[in-house]
Amino acid sequence: MRTSDHRPAALIEGGAVFPHRHLTGIDGLQPHEIAFLLDEAETWVGANRTHATPDKRLAGLTQINAFFENSTRTLLSFEIAGKRLGADVVNMHAAQSSVKKGETLIDTAMTLNAMRADVIVIRHMSSGAVRLIADKVDCPVLNAGDGRHEHPTQALLDALTIRRRKGSIAGQRVVICGDLLHSRVARSNILALTALAAEVRVCAPSTLMPPMIERMGVTAFTDFDKALEGADVVMMLRLQNERMDGAYVPSTREYRLRYGLTLDRLAKAAPDALVMHPGPMNRGVEIDSAVADHARSAITEQVEMGVAVRMACLDVLTRRARGVEGWA
């Protein structure tokens, strides 16, 4: 089921290698298009590390980060990515209450559009909200997380991290463990990793497992120890505290007992297994500090890849407007 970029017009926008106007999700992207974005991001990793001659290719463009839901690291990552490319970055924090009571999301979208943004980055607490806005504005829209639906740049940065550490993604056994029910990170990662031919296992207590998740091409486990057997990558998800006080899980310590990634547990995975976490971590709950700070942990590298991936996405999505050859 392909649900993104449903308008045929989108096919002629953007360039031949990435014929999408927006990035609303991983759903709808072909494997080679995902790989293209990863290749583009790869070039920025080196540039970011060496502080080479600044490349201000987005100079003169206005990037609006419209965050309808609180965020620190994703907002910062998008802001840094835009600024490194020379864009004028403006952050709009819209508290949930004022938006719900006041103007509708579409009115907000029309307002942003009237301000002639060149690219809009959106985070919203409702699944599908980003696509609703994308349908209403003239510039590219980048999804920075919508409800429980998708968080495509997180999946891309995770894929890039795995590819750099492991050489390739195809055939890797990736275990995603945690609150899958409420996780947009999990959905985007499942779509991206299965598209790139990884073997994806998901693990959660049944209270936090989305029904029929197997239909997305993954194997579901409730026993973390079994899921970990032979894992090449262990991706832990954050579990919000309010979901661990009896609503979905009896307590944090009970959660840690069954799903906490300890050094003992990690031993069940492949000897060179990579440990990942999208952050922020609950140390001592879903992941022990000894694991988070282990040499096999790629957690800080994920953050670094995040900036590179977002630079790549901002660059690619604005190429058409900038008149880049082959994209205009």
């Binding site: 089921m1 999301l105 579409i106 409800g147 029904p211 029929m212 239909r215």
Partner: protein, 406 residues
């Protein structure tokens, strides 16, 4: 003054499908079939067209005259979830009167005060003010003790309790049915069993108290099984459905189409097929529009923030005729589901073409092709999940008590 509808195909839930005339005098049907036309009659030639009882639409959310006129609806059972709630005799009486003479509104009074599910509402006083049934509105009464007292009290009054069957503990916050679509889209979802759970409890309480219960919308295979078994045991239960759950499944919410956000939500394909079976075998008694026009301020929102409901009045007849075309129903049985049965739930002696009944008549063209376009609806809003669908069957003229509704 005599009105004569001549040369028509007559579709009557009791008399079957025949050819002939209908004579109306003083708002009442006085003769049907091959009968002589008095010389002073006003004649409407209905050759090639069909005359049927006007639709009795049980459980609409809003009074929307233009939509009801276009849809061939002459009477509505108005849901108690109004603002203010239909739990006060003054409000009930006003609702019962505002539609006349063209549209007869039969209020469904709130079974509990403010529809809050705690204290019994003044059901008897509301009935004397014009309510024709009592109901739980769009919500389930969570407290089984309260529901039992509602049913027992309503039985004393000889009125039907119209219930919404979704276990609120399972559906809290949900906007979709659990399944692949909801999982892929990341929509808060409730398991389909929420419906059967609620039906099972309410049926047991109805059986225990001897009350009459009508489940306004049943949409799952497990729900139909429970109703079927209860009917076999002799429980006084009836149930209804809207065309949405007969023609659409959860896949219709893909792309976050908020017009497909309904309550109860659209179900899996297997449940949709079970609904078609339940239409064919007589388990479902009532077809209703579920009419609930919602403007852009309530629908052009992210899916999870949108209000549920569809504008269904204008499309009820053509979508119901699809069931006849597919041979799940005969035309005469269709009008049992659209007119006679809902009238019975409300305790009304109407909904057929029998002599002596009110001349609530609809003239329609079974074949007339058209395309559903929400923006062209006469309803207060065009929120239809069937936008773009080609259909057949259009209402041409409508009479309420022998008086044409224009």
């Amino acid at each position: 003054m005599i009105l004569a509808l001549t040369n028509a195909t007559l579709a009557c839930p009791v008399g079957g499908v025949t050819k002939g005339n209908v004579l109306v005098r003083d708002g009442v049907i006085v003769a049907t079939g091959i009968v002589d036309i008095p010389s002073d009659a006003e004649i409407v030639d209905c050759a090639g067209k069909t005359v049927a009882p006007g639709i009795v639409d049980l459980g609409v959310a809003k009074v929307d005259r233009a939509a009801f006129r276009a849809g061939g609806i002459v009477r509505i059972g108005l849901m108690p979830d109004q603002s203010p709630v239909l739990d006060d005799p003054g409000i009930v009486q006003r609702a019962a009167l505002i539609g006349k003479p063209d549209l007869w509104i039969h209020p469904i009074a709130a079974a509990t005060r403010g529809l809050e599910g705690h204290d019994l509402a003044e059901m008897a006083i509301c009935v004397s003010a014009g309510a024709k049934a009592v109901g739980t509105g769009k919500h389930w009464i969570a407290d089984s003790g309260v529901m039992r007292r509602v049913l027992a009290y309503a039985r004393d009054l000889d009125v039907t309790v119209i219930a919404h069957a979704e276990d609120g503990g399972l559906t809290a916050g949900a906007v979709a049915t659990e399944g692949e679509t909801a999982t892929r889209l990341g929509l808060p979802a409730a398991p389909a069993v929420a419906e059967a759970l609620a039906i099972a409890r309410d049926l047991m309480l109805a059986e225990d108290t001897g009350a009459r219960i009508h489940i306004r919308q049943v949409t799952t295979a497990a729900g139909f099984d429970l109703i079927r078994a209860a009917k076999r045991r002799g429980v006084a239960v009836t149930c209804g459905i809207t065309p949405a759950h007969l023609h659409l499944s959860e896949i219709a919410v893909s792309d976050f189409r908020s017009f497909a956000l309904l309550s109860p939500p659209l179900r899996a394909e297997g449940d949709r097929r079970a609904a078609l079976d339940a239409i064919a075998d007589g388990t479902i008694d009532v077809l209703c529009s579920g009419h609930e026009p919602r403007g852009p301020e309530e629908k052009r929102l992210p899916f999870t923030d949108s209000s549920s409901g569809m504008a269904g009045a204008e499309t009820l007849l053509p979508l119901a005729l699809m069931l006849v075309r597919d041979e799940l129903l005969t035309l005469e049985r269709l009008f049992a589901l659209l007119a006679r049965n809902p009238a019975r739930v409300l305790g009304l002696d109407t909904g057929t073409l029998e002599v002596g009944k009110p001349a609530d008549l609809m003239l329609f063209d079974q074949q007339a092709p058209w395309q559903i376009v929400g923006e062209e609806f006469l309803a207060e809003a065009g929120n239809t999940p069937f936008d773009g669908l080609p259909v057949q069957g259009r209402v041409l003229r409508l009479w309420k008590g022998g008086r044409e509704v224009r």
